[in-house]
Amino acid sequence: MENHYYNAKDLDKFGNIAEYQKELADKFFSYYGEVFKDSHLTAKEKSLIALAVAHAVQCPYCIDAYSSDAFEKGYSEAQMMEAVHVASAIKGGAVLVHGVQMMNKVKEIGM
């Protein structure tokens, strides 16, 4: 192991996960390929969703891949940043909406 957890070159080795479990890897990559095809949503729209999700799950490999993919598919920098803000708003909102739970509890136990 190297002395860090993430290496940009590992993204190119993603397919290598099949070395340890081919059947499941094949199923995953087949499913992955199908998900990103043009269908009710275009491949371009799916790329922007993937970019936002990549930021929400804070996956550096996914951010690398979908920053390139979304830009190559024609999204502007402003559009891509707005997608990241959507992810941020949902994540921030997810934290804040739990504030209601906190309030509920405090109201329950407080005088």
């Binding site: 371009k44 830009f71 190559e72």
Partner: protein, 349 residues
């Protein structure tokens, strides 16, 4: 206005320096194009005939696009003479070549451009003009180009790297998008791109950055929808073309630190199925000075034909040239990546 590499006396203005970068800078771990063809059983690459003659009428252009493989611009003076054009016409008259593809620079800047189109049409050949659109608005003497094109049933092929201003202007220069839209509307007004008119208007997409084009089919659908809804513009087909690591685009790749990554992309996306349809196999490229090349890219790298003679249009021999071996180097990966790429877009494989 950006100056050409030649006027700047940039090292990459010299084709030998470009070839040195392309052939030797990545080290031996990368396969050569030659090796890829051998592995695919397609070496040596041979011409399948000559269906298209592509004429470079000169390197002068009213634009200085950042990705230009010709290093064209307002400061370039090279221009095809009428006597060289006459050699081309003599060849066309006595051959089965049906299509003449006029390119540059901006081919319309050649003072004999209209004369040449008229002469080619008299021979009954199909003419394609690679029009950069903004030339139509560059000077009032070009305002009637749409009518001239229509009169001679010229197929117009024009670059528009995006349906948005920002991305177009970043690649082609400030104000280019706005003028391109106006020019497209002028072409539409005389019937170009309209169903049933027979007047072909095709657009060219090429990436504004260090990446490969997305799917041509999806892109064409999006372009048609966006240009119609935003500007009421129609066109026939979109050609998605890969940027060649030559001249100003090579300079961009090197200076932005993208060269190695871009070449990796081209090489790893090598598609053996695209080789059969490569444009060099059925096209002959004629330089502004009459010298012959397998394609416009080889022309810019000064890679002349593999034949021992017959290197100039004045020494044209159809039988010898239609079976020639194609000269290949590392830049050829630009035409075989992904869906493949040619002056007519994706090779649809």
């Amino acid at each position: 206005m950006i100056k050409s590499l030649k006027v700047l006396q940039h090292p990459l203005a010299d084709s030998e320096n470009q070839l040195e970068v392309l052939e030797n800078s990545l080290g031996s771990i990368h396969p050569t194009f030659n090796e890829k063809l051998v592995l695919s059983g397609m070496y040596p690459l041979r011409a399948s005939g000559i269906d298209i003659m592509q004429l470079n009428l000169g390197k002068m252009c009213n634009q200085t696009c950042k990705h230009c493989h010709v290093d064209a611009g307002p400061d370039r003076k090279e221009m095809m003479s009428r006597s060289t054009m006459q050699f081309c016409l003599d060849v066309l008259k006595n051959s089965e070549i049906d299509v003449v593809d006029l390119t540059g620079g901006a081919p319309e800047l050649n003072p004999d451009f209209r004369w040449l189109v008229e002469q080619i049409k008299k021979l009954g050949k199909h003419v394609i003009v690679r029009c950069n659109l903004t030339i139509i608005l560059a000077n009032k003497r070009f305002y009637d180009l749409p009518d001239f094109f229509k009169q001679h049933q010229v197929e117009v092929v024009s670059s528009l790297p995006s349906f948005t201003q920002d991305r177009t202007d970043r690649q082609r220069g400030d104000g280019v998008f706005e003028d391109s839209i106006k020019a497209l509307q002028m072409l539409n007004r005389v019937g170009y791109g309209k169903e049933g008119s027979g007047l072909m208007l095709n657009l060219v997409y090429n990436p504004a950055g260090a990446f490969l084009p997305p799917s041509q089919t999806a892109l064409e659908k999006e372009y048609k929808m966006e240009l119609a809804s935003r500007y009421d513009i129609v066109f026939n087909q979109l050609f998605a073309i890969t940027n060649m690591p030559i001249s100003r685009y090579l300079d961009y790749l090197l200076s932005s630190g993208n060269y190695s990554r871009y070449m990796d992309k081209l090489i790893s996306a090598f598609n053996p199925a695209s080789v059969q349809n490569l444009m060099c196999r059925n096209t002959l490229s004629v330089g502004w000075d009459g010298y012959l090349y397998d394609c416009d890219f080889n022309q810019m790298l000064d890679l002349k034909l593999s034949t021992s003679g017959n290197q100039h249009i004045s020494d044209f021999d159809f039988v010898i040239l239609k079976n020639r071996n194609i000269v290949i180097k590392q830049h050829c990966f630009g035409c075989t990546a992904g869906e493949g790429s040619s002056c007519g877009g994706s090779l649809s494989v």
